[in-house]
Symmetry: none
Subunit: 204 residues, 4 copies
């Protein structure tokens, strides 16, 4: 049993380290970020970081979890808006695109750790989970709308989210390396909406 007061202070520091880690990883990438970099960014000593986290591996894993949480939370918010179905869908897609386009440091970290996860099984699981949750939101919404409207998808409904979310992810990837003009970007997203609607048989 640890006294509560002591715990609280520690908890604050812990979070400080996590935040610093996100910042540092976003800026320089996993391969170029040392524990010391993170400690400095957090305004602490290396020793302190190791006091809060068993190892770098542990820290990274928790960073991933935090970033994934932030991502899924934001995705959830995108769908949990009120409104007329068509509009709601459109808004959600736009928001999910915005997340990917302007995504703060967390997104960069996720992208970076994705590569790590290719080889590090410990990271793969939470990564996979994040993807699942991300699509999960969409799934829920879709089944709800389908039920509501008695519509039928051209594609098995549980695969719709994969198509949409994957397309968004792929577009974000290309966007990073080869950005579209603003006008083109607008048209691509519009097209994505159209496609979604058509898959979904919603009359526009």
């Amino acid at each position: 049993m640890r006294p509560r007061g002591a715990y609280k202070k520690s908890e604050a520091s812990r979070r400080q380290v996590l935040e610093a880690a996100v910042t540092a990883l976003a800026e320089h990438g996993f391969a170029q970020t040392s524990v010391n970099d993170i400690a400095v960014a957090a305004g602490m000593s290396k020793g302190a970081v190791h006091y809060h986290f068993e190892s770098k591996e542990d820290l990274i894993a928790q960073v991933l979890e935090q970033c994934a949480a932030m991502m899924t939370e934001r995705a959830r918010a995108a769908w949990n808006t009120e409104g007329e179905p068509r509009e709601k869908l459109r808004a959600a897609i736009r928001e999910m695109w915005t997340m990917r386009r302007q995504g703060g440091p967390e997104l960069r970290v996720l992208a970076d750790l994705m590569a790590q996860a290719l080889h590090d099984p410990k990271l793969k699981k939470p990564m996979a989970n994040m993807f699942r949750v991300l699509r999960g939101e969409v799934v829920e919404y879709f089944s709800q709308v389908l039920d509501e409207l008695g519509l039928q998808s051209k594609v098995p409904p549980h695969l719709l989210p994969r198509l949409i979310v994957a397309a968004l992810d792929g577009l974000a990837l290309h966007e990073f390396f080869d950005p579209l003009t603003d006008a083109d970007e607008e048209q691509v997203i519009a097209a994505l909406e159209t496609i979604t609607f058509s898959l979904f048989d919603i009359e526009e």
Copy 2:
């Protein structure tokens, strides 16, 4: 006068190193692959690797180039087949999906280096170029078909490839972390074909 082929041994060794690098990078990732690992995989000494490549950076850059070349070459082959438009399109999409699904070590290396490229400008350029070429193939094919058939796309034609290639890339990403069942996979690809045709106004 140097005997013909005096450089052959060197060239062979160079390629051996490159291949070993691809293997090693694919297996353990950039951050966990040392020059020594590569040397051992190539059956040489560390010194020999540095004899053929100025630095690790240089080696990595050349690995990237090679992987990108292999990728684009394969993509080119996917589109440069003969046949009736509809069938050709379908076949090309399938081949591009296969590339991503079963993609050998080169694909893993590319994925890994993509994360590096997020922070390393030297890698970003060739990466971006690969993406451009990859879409380029599709663009050419599409304009050709559109001309041929007098069809009009619902989306500006130069953006079609981005949608399709990006969707494939995104699907591959999700597939890696959360594989579909074979049946589902088949349906997703089928859906992708349908979408493509519909964007394209080809009656199925």
Copy 3:
């Protein structure tokens, strides 16, 4: 609140490294002394040396500074004695010769780094400074005596130190490679005194 002297251990280690470096450099020379050699001589790990000094270059520069400081301090002491001018001059010359003849490891290090300074601009400045300070002591003393006695030098007074100190340095150089017998050495130094006096117009 950091307990008093928390840095003491570090400072002590730092000095230990510097001392070890002087010893090692004196024995094997710059080109043949690795950071590891120094670490071992200091009873530490290579890492510890790099903990205290940013780089080998940094360490060497500080070694130079320390040796130069020790040298100039000793030279200062040689002139800052009390006594009758003639005797004081004689004593100072003898002491400066002794410094050069029996000069401990610091002198060897300085000699070694002099060669480095030929090519490394970073070392040249402190080296030049040491020479200047070394002559500076003599200059001060000479002007003082000249004023005191109303004498006039046959050579512009500010050049006297250069002649004397340079002669001492040159003699030390030759002495190292080709030592004189004790008797000859005594006579050479005596001659140097004589010359100095004669330049100075002090009747002996």
Copy 4:
């Protein structure tokens, strides 16, 4: 027995390597000059250098010998001029100063290798020998003049050269790190002449 023709070509290459070594060593110093640097400067491969010289050590030793030879030869020339004693002495001192001031690459190499010789016994011997020969020239001349004129030195004659040559060497050392103005330089040399004459009891 090696055929003569073959030998000649080899001899030329050997000299080429030695020259290149002098150039390279003069520019970057012993510690920073690799066998490869020398090979490149000589327009050959590393292997070729090792064909002509057993080891780097061997090469360096021969470089030293060559530089020392060039130095002593030039010194000899300085004294072997004709003329009236006083003028001859003056001219020789000036020439020896010029050697030290403007000394080409060989001088820099000697300075550099002097530091090496502090720790490497194999270099010490030839170095010591060079110094001896350098002073030897002066000794010979002095005894000759003394005999000729029936003069007596204030200092044992065999020590005169040491004083003069050492002074010149010391002055050159200081000059390198802290150059005099042209006017001051002139006065210092003039002073050195005066001192020499006075030691020598030649009326000016």
